[in-house]
């Protein structure tokens, strides 16, 4: 009891000292907006967080995102004389559970201003409401599910919450690009779709279905596998019964591998064309002999010439830096998006930060307004403009055919179709 009373006394004295110090500097009192503001003391760092899938089967996606975030923070340097601290990388586990518990960890720390993440749409659907309620801004580099932003026609998606932004494309573009390619370039009209129930995979197959039927094609089967399933003969038999010419399965490597390996053993699917999306255009799937000649849709990553305006780094330099720092090429396609997302957040923080005496104040609502107003920001991924539901991506989708098992970069350069949203 005694102790707590003395602590209170010290705290009160400290507060008084702060007020006197502030007045002594002649600064006016900072007025926080409705979401409150974060105060960063003189020798404190500005806190942002990385929330990506860094363990488990989808770590290939989250690890390059987190690496790119750290590179961007280093390249950007200080804001108003203060360092930016990313802290320990948090893990979204590529699941709703992981996203939720990581978001709870983040909101428990009132010093955090913004979050770069999540990697997976399923994790974002759980993390976004918590972070939004706490007044934070989050920018994802690789969430693509339409449900997280909007249908691009002015209706918010079911998982949209204020303060959510992304530099990744909205999968409505990817669905359209893939459908156009199949219908016009491959000249195929009967397609089977397989998703795994996740918002990313389900969102993409649905976008494909809508675009493809609009073009005049036919979706003969639209089915799903469950995560962890290894025996694909039943689902492939269900697919075979629809006699598709092409199977589009934009899922993740564990189940994707099983499908690619078992498809040739199912009667009626010997000659079917296989197509997948960015979730499978990853090293260990592209190593499979069965993935040869498959088509993959994904973000166009020809960023060599693009320069990020905040750090003056171009895509080619980024890849060189990445390789020298981490000893390998990025294992997934969203490194540029993660780098741009981070520099966007830091630029916006710098724009809204107000120095008041020794403290730096970052107003949470002002930060969101600043991010919403971003227009024509030059990033590695191209010119970035945010719409009112947080879609900031460059929306350029390309489709390549995997024709070189030994050199994935050469395969990824074998681009047959490019779509710009």
């Amino acid at each position: 009891m005694k102790k707590s009373r003395s602590v209170r006394l010290i705290a009160a004295l400290g507060a008084l000292a702060l007020v006197i110090a502030a007045c002594g500097d002649g600064g006016g009192e900072f007025e926080a907006g409705e979401l409150g503001a974060v105060e960063v003391g003189a020798d404190e760092a500005i806190q942002i967080r990385s929330l990506n899938a860094i363990t488990g089967e989808v770590a290939f996606l989250g690890i390059p995102n987190e690496n790119a975030i750290r590179m961007a923070v280093d390249d950007y340097g200080q804001i108003a004389g203060r360092d930016v601290n990313v802290g320990t990388g948090l893990d979204d586990l590529c699941s709703a559970d992981g996203g939720q518990s990581a978001a709870q960890t983040i909101v428990a720390d009132s010093a955090v201003v913004g979050v770069i993440g999540t990697s997976c749409s399923g994790a974002a659907a759980a993390a976004s409401p918590l972070l939004s309620d706490a007044g934070l801004s989050m920018i994802s580099a690789s969430n693509t599910s339409p449900s997280l932003t909007s249908d691009l026609e002015g209706t918010a998606g079911e998982n949209y919450y204020a303060g959510y932004y992304r530099t990744a494309h909205n999968d409505l573009f990817q669905g359209q690009a893939a459908a156009n390619f199949v219908f016009e370039n491959l000249d195929l009209t009967k397609v089977a779709l397989i998703h795994d129930g996740d918002p990313y995979t389900n969102g993409l197959t649905t976008a494909f279905e809508n675009a493809f039927t609009e073009l005049g094609g036919e979706i003969v089967v639209h089915t799903a596998v469950s995560v962890g399933q290894t025996d694909m003969v039943p689902v492939l038999t269900e697919v075979a019964a629809g006699e598709p010419e092409l199977i589009f399965f934009p899922i993740f490597p564990a189940e994707g591998t099983a499908i690619a390996q078992q498809v040739s053993g199912v009667a009626g699917l010997e000659d079917v064309v296989l197509m997948a999306a960015d979730g499978l255009s990853v090293t260990n799937f592209l190593d499979l002999p069965e993935s040869e000649n498959m088509y993959f849709s994904g973000p166009d990553t020809r960023f060599d010439e693009n320069t990020n305006e905040a750090t003056d780094l171009n895509g080619e330099q980024f890849l060189a830096d990445y390789e020298s720092e981490f000893g390998e090429a990025p294992s997934a396609d969203f490194w540029g998006h993660a780098y741009d997302a981070t520099t966007m957040l830091l630029t916006a923080i710098e724009a809204v930060a107000v120095e008041d005496g020794d403290s730096l104040w970052i107003d949470r609502q002002a930060l969101r307004d600043e991010l919403n107003s971003i227009s024509g920001f030059d990033g590695l991924i191209g010119s970035i403009t945010c719409d009112e539901y947080g879609d900031c991506g460059a929306n350029v989708i390309s489709i390549f055919q995997h024709n070189n098992l030994d050199d994935h970069q050469a395969s990824k350069a074998n681009i047959l179709y490019t779509y710009s949203g």
């Binding site: 038999t237 269900e238 019964a241 390996q261």
Partner: protein, 366 residues
């Protein structure tokens, strides 16, 4: 005497009982749903919709081969239950460990060309490594985790086995990493179709069924005809009396675990041929399925475990398309696991002891 207190058989038979009538309601409606589903699928088939005859045949074959693999794993559950009366939940991981370690040998042989040059020898090498590792892991688990708990209430080794299961999963994740790895494709011309009894069957699936049958016969011979097998049956009957009769109970129990592990090792080879993909969680679902198969067939009964496995494989492969598709449910294949476990519930509703199981006395129940 009023009917409420009367124990007489006639009055009991006619008494209205909510639980019984509810169970009958479930039985009847399940049967009706299944019949409607099958009729619907047959109609679709006659209209030329849905899978073709060839595809149905392939589904049955793939269900059988998966089922035989489940059966082999189920034997391990059933044997341990028969002898010790507890469910060894780490058995799925015993299966995974052999599979994971023999992947190293398979990859090496594939890379230097031995895999395709000497298919038989290559598969025998994979088989022996897989059996050896699985046996070793099963025996070590018994020695380290279960033997100190001998005589403790049955719930305790059961919970311990869940701990062993997690330990093995994450030990393998630490050693081998978490990425999904893949066995090389079936060696030689094994992947091609083989003519068998007038129908073309994929070579690997035929091999899977053949290997499983041989192992099953071998196990039956071991349990029924050898001295050690007799000792196992004696220990299963009554540990104390068996000990008094001069049987080394500890050694017999170790043998039980070893044989169950070896069968899981064989199943590892079959998995490598059928599905190829492996990661540290690979053992979990087949383990649960094999446990389901063991219960389906009547736990503690070896032919029952095999029968349960085969039926479960068939149900989960054919069931979704045959029953659920006929009922007009969309995206049926993701309900494959649900069908497998629903099949278990249905069998238990009709036959609570499992297909070949016998009613256990209350003291024998786990």
């Amino acid at each position: 005497m009023t009917t409420t207190t009367s124990p007489s058989k006639t009055s009991r038979r006619f008494r209205f009982n909510w639980v019984d009538s509810f169970l009958w309601f479930i039985r009847v409606s399940a049967l009706i749903a299944i019949v409607i589903g099958i009729v619907g699928s047959v109609q679709l088939f006659l209209e030329g919709e849905g899978p073709t005859a060839e595809q149905w045949r392939d589904l049955v074959i793939s269900g059988l081969s998966t089922g035989f693999m489940y059966g082999l794993i189920a034997l391990g559950y059933s044997m341990v239950y028969g002898v010790l009366g507890f469910i060894n939940f780490a058995h799925g991981e015993v299966f995974m460990s052999g599979l994971m370690v023999s992947l190293i040998a398979a990859t090496l042989m594939f890379e230097n060309g031995f895999w395709d040059a000497n298919p038989t020898l290559a598969l025998l090498i994979v088989l022996s490594i897989s059996m050896l590792v699985s046996t070793l892991v099963a025996v070590l688990a018994e020695r380290i985790a279960y033997r100190p708990l001998r005589g403790a209430p049955r719930l305790i080794p059961l919970i311990t086995s869940i701990g062993v299961s997690f330990f093995l999963q994450y030990a393998f994740a630490g050693i081998f990493g978490v990425a999904t790895r893949s066995y090389p494709p079936a060696p030689g011309n094994l992947g091609n179709d083989v003519e068998f009894l007038g129908i073309a069957i994929e070579g690997t699936k035929l091999l899977v069924v053949g290997v499983a049958l041989i192992s099953m016969v071998g196990l039956w011979w071991f349990v029924a005809k050898t001295k050690t097998g007799r000792a196992m049956r004696a220990v299963a009957e009554d540990k104390e009396i068996a000990g008094l009769m001069g049987i080394n109970v500890d050694r017999t129990i170790v043998t039980t675990f070893a044989v169950g592990g070896a069968m899981a090792g064989v199943a590892g080879l079959l998995w490598a041929l059928l599905f190829r993909a492996v990661d540290f969680l690979t053992g979990f679902l087949p383990g649960i399925k094999a446990f389901t198969a063991a219960v389906l067939g009547g736990i503690g009964n070896l032919p029952g475990a095999m029968l349960g496995g085969v039926l479960l494989g068939l149900f989960e492969n054919v069931g979704p398309l045959l029953v659920l598709n006929g009922l007009g449910i969309p995206a049926v294949s993701q309900l494959k696991d649900a069908v497998a476990f629903a099949a278990l519930v249905l069998v238990l509703v009709f036959r609570p002891t499992g297909l070949l199981g016998e009613r256990l006395g209350s003291e024998d129940r786990a």
